[in-house]
């Protein structure tokens, strides 16, 4: 299940930010490593909410800055 989540997150991040999936490593930081600006981040969070059918409140969204932190948050919600 967790691999699945990581894979799905990587795919969404790659699509949303227009970067190759290979660059979307777990430790990759959306802003610093993948070039996301504030608008990208909002859209990315929306896409994750949609894909995993969860709600990510703004306060939580602020702490989601890397691929792994997104995966961890999603896991905590779906556990």
């Amino acid at each position: 299940m967790s691999d699945d989540i990581l894979g799905k997150v990587q795919k969404i991040v790659s699509e949303q930010l227009g970067v190759d999936e290979a660059e979307v490593k777990p430790e990759a930081n959306f802003a610093n490593d993948l070039g996301a600006d504030s608008l990208d981040t909002v859209e990315l969070v929306m896409a994750l909410e949609e894909e995993f059918d969860i709600e990510i409140p703004d306060e939580a969204a602020e702490s989601i800055s890397t691929v792994q932190s997104a995966v961890d948050f999603i896991k905590s919600k779906s556990a």
Binding site: L17, G18, V19, L39, V42, E43, M46, E50
Partner: protein, 425 residues
């Protein structure tokens, strides 16, 4: 106190000369300047049934769509995703024009190079898509990119980002006159020393369900759905409305000395810009094209031209019942008997009507006519309307010395714009 004639002369003399050194075009006839011009010269028809969406329940089902355009040839994946199609067209046309002009934009001159790109409608497809999301999923699912993608000025803003042009930047939104207003406003900036070069023109991408619904309800669009290639027929007695087109036309306007100093190729000189308003009706035209008369006169005066100097007019020529005879009347009012000695054509017969983009591609056509001594035709002109009795270059392009070409654009709101281009000597 009004300035004396001597003072006016001094102001005129201090104005800089402005030349066109590069052009780019994304059109229903082809997606480069060369393909566009070749299409115009060979009477190519860019109009067919709408494929961008299912138009089967619409009154009008024909359009001049851009085919085979790949924005990835001009910008990277992420930038493509964050921009609407009208901005893609503007960026692509601008990059073509800059390359054509061999204009290098560096840290040293960036603040002297600006962008002025008009559009009539902006990113309406983005708005339609997001409205659907809003209705189906609620406000929290609307994209944070919706506003920056759809606002009309973003063609100019994103083009500046893409090419690093830090000078004057703005956007005219004067409906179907927007592209020509942008070129005219850019002309003034270069003429008065506010920029060494301006990337300017018009762009539009509005082949969308809502746009069709709105224009159809106005009874403004052709419904010749069973015969799309003959739907746009300016000055013909059987014309029944305009055909919507999409694309962009971009010109590099450059201060003459700057162009000479870097050894740039010069296509033509821009000498005149006239604009006026009908102040008459939202969408109608003042009788006899009274507002158009004033715009044409102002452009001639601005360029120090006499009516007899005009060789060719790229008409607004929308193929609507109301435009074509009024525009014809306006040309005759200004040029008198000379109107019968010149050529007038509507390239919308081939491209459709690009709304705010039309001034861009038609400015390009007028400049190319001056540069090549060849005028594009009006196709589908089988039976001229008796009220349209000028030489509209029916069917086939023609060789002709073109010393001065005018380009007319008129927009809802009563905006009238005429641009004047002259052979560079």
């Amino acid at each position: 106190m009004a300035p004396s004639e001597k003072q006016v002369d001094e102001i005129q003399r201090s104005k800089k000369r402005v030349v066109i050194t590069g052009m780019g075009a994304i059109t229903p006839l082809g997606n480069t300047l060369a393909d566009y011009w070749q299409g115009l010269m060979t009477s190519k028809n860019g109009i067919d049934r709408v494929t961008a969406f299912d138009a089967s329940n619409h009154g009008s089902q024909v359009a001049g769509q851009v085919e085979g355009f790949d924005p990835l040839e001009y910008m990277d994946r992420k930038d493509v995703k964050r921009a609407a199609r009208f901005a893609h067209f503007a960026i692509a046309g601008s990059k073509q024009a800059i390359a054509d002009a061999k204009l290098e934009i560096t840290d040293l001159n960036a603040e002297q190079v600006g962008v002025m790109i008009g559009t009539g409608i902006g990113g309406i497809q983005v708005m339609e898509d997001q409205q659907e999301i809003y209705l189906n999923k609620g406000p929290s699912r609307c994209s944070p990119f919706m506003i920056p993608m759809m606002i009309a000025n973003m063609a100019a803003g994103l083009t500046a980002i893409q090419v690093g042009a830090k000078g004057p930047n703005s956007c005219s939104v004067t409906a179907c006159a927007a592209g020509s207003n942008a070129i005219g406003d850019a002309f003034r900036l270069v003429q008065n020393g506010y920029a060494q070069a301006m990337i300017c023109g018009g762009t539009e991408s509005a082949v969308t369900p809502l746009t069709f619904a709105g224009f159809s309800s106005m009874r403004a669009m052709s419904t010749r759905n069973d015969d799309p290639t003959h739907a746009s027929r300016p000055f013909d007695k059987d014309r029944d409305g305009f055909v919507l087109g999409e694309g962009s036309g971009i010109l590099i306007l450059e201060e003459l000395e700057h162009a000479i100093s870097r050894g740039a190729r010069i296509y033509a000189e821009m000498v005149g810009y006239g604009m006026s308003c009908d102040a008459y009706h939202m969408t109608g035209i003042a009788p006899g094209g009274e507002g158009a008369v004033r715009a044409i006169r102002l452009a001639l005066k601005d360029g120090g031209l006499a009516p007899e100097d005009v060789s060719y007019v790229n008409a607004h020529g929308t193929s609507t019942p109301v435009n074509d005879p009024n525009e014809t009347a306006a040309i005759k009012t200004v040029l008198g008997d000379h109107a019968y000695k010149i050529t007038v054509s509507s390239t919308k017969s081939m491209t459709g009507h690009l709304l705010g983009g039309s001034g861009g591609i038609e400015g390009v056509a007028a400049v190319m006519a001056v540069a090549n001594d060849r005028v594009p035709p009006t196709i589908n002109l089988e039976n001229p309307d008796p009220a349209c009795d000028l030489d509209y270059v029916a069917h086939k392009s023609r060789e002709q010395t073109v010393n001065v070409a005018l380009s007319n654009s008129f927009g809802f709101g009563g905006h009238n714009v005429t641009l004047a281009f002259k052979k560079y000597k």
